[in-house]
Symmetry: C2
Subunit: 202 residues, 2 copies
Amino acid sequence: MPRPRVNLLSVDLIADAAIELADSGDTFGVNALARKLGVTPSSLYNHVDGKDAIIELMRSRLGARYFPEPVTGDWDEIVTGTVRGLRRLYADHPLIVPLIVGKTITDPGVIGSYDRLATALVDAGVPDDEVLAIVAIVDAYAIGFGLDLASPDEIWQPTVPTATLGRLITDAAHGAERSDAAFEIGLEMLVASLRLRLQNRR
Amino acid sequence: MPRPRVNLLSVDLIADAAIELADSGDTFGVNALARKLGVTPSSLYNHVDGKDAIIELMRSRLGARYFPEPVTGDWDEIVTGTVRGLRRLYADHPLIVPLIVGKTITDPGVIGSYDRLATALVDAGVPDDEVLAIVAIVDAYAIGFGLDLASPDEIWQPTVPTATLGRLITDAAHGAERSDAAFEIGLEMLVASLRLRLQNRR
């Protein structure tokens, strides 16, 4: 019996199927991915060297999709552009976040993005020993608000009396509108606190 | 054949097994949880009303575990105490993050924590229409750094030349030490930018 899909396997096809599998919430692994692609695990191993390599393929594919062009500009534009793109990526693929955050980054495209961010921060005057911390803060912020955007329309539904929360919920925006507004305030605060930190160093 | 575990089912036992199941990365759902507990799905439904209710049990259990006492003090102490506790929770249970972030919060204990945070922010002078945004920022920050702590010892392993990143990695701290240091800087920046925002309003 012919098995045409075996020969059609490519790293892009594998990456796309892996993203779909991870998004579905089903158990993630080489065997499950092979089943999804309709191939044997050993044909999959001809293209990728196990689960970690598959996760790296996903990262590469998502990086290229959400950052089709390098983020350029002044340091604050690179920070905000990076946070915005990463937030969108994490929001669209919340179940993938723990997978890609849990593995060492080797993909040259993604390394390049972080390198441009680190270089912009050094050029802005962030001391060498703080640059990677700021990069982690940028990433943490994007992850947090990516997952915030994936949260439900009603975040809280108090069934007990509250001092403040219940009152505030009544008047508040919901869903993406709420998350976007909070994200913008937080991004403003992030850039303001970075600027303040740079000024205090001078 | 006796099935003693059926009668021993309790919401705490269900919550603990659900946390273990979600932590394992296996497909999460009522059937998988019933299998793990050695009971039938219908006995499980005697205690909980489906997957959403199970996720709420997990949230409640984790909330009580990571916040055994209410966080008290001035607004900045409540912000930092809340971020620290949430970060630890999310770091210890990274695979649970998308599950608990994706559902409406009803658990009275967890609602109470958010209510205390919201009340502290109102008392500090944060305008009503910004309080929930600041709460979302606090939460996003904790989620982001919780997952950062779950990231590998070596975050980047460049296989191509870099302008800045490769040089910085060589001298940088690794693992929890790296993540903790970045988290402390970010928390300082978060509180500083909140303070700045409050001052600019006055």
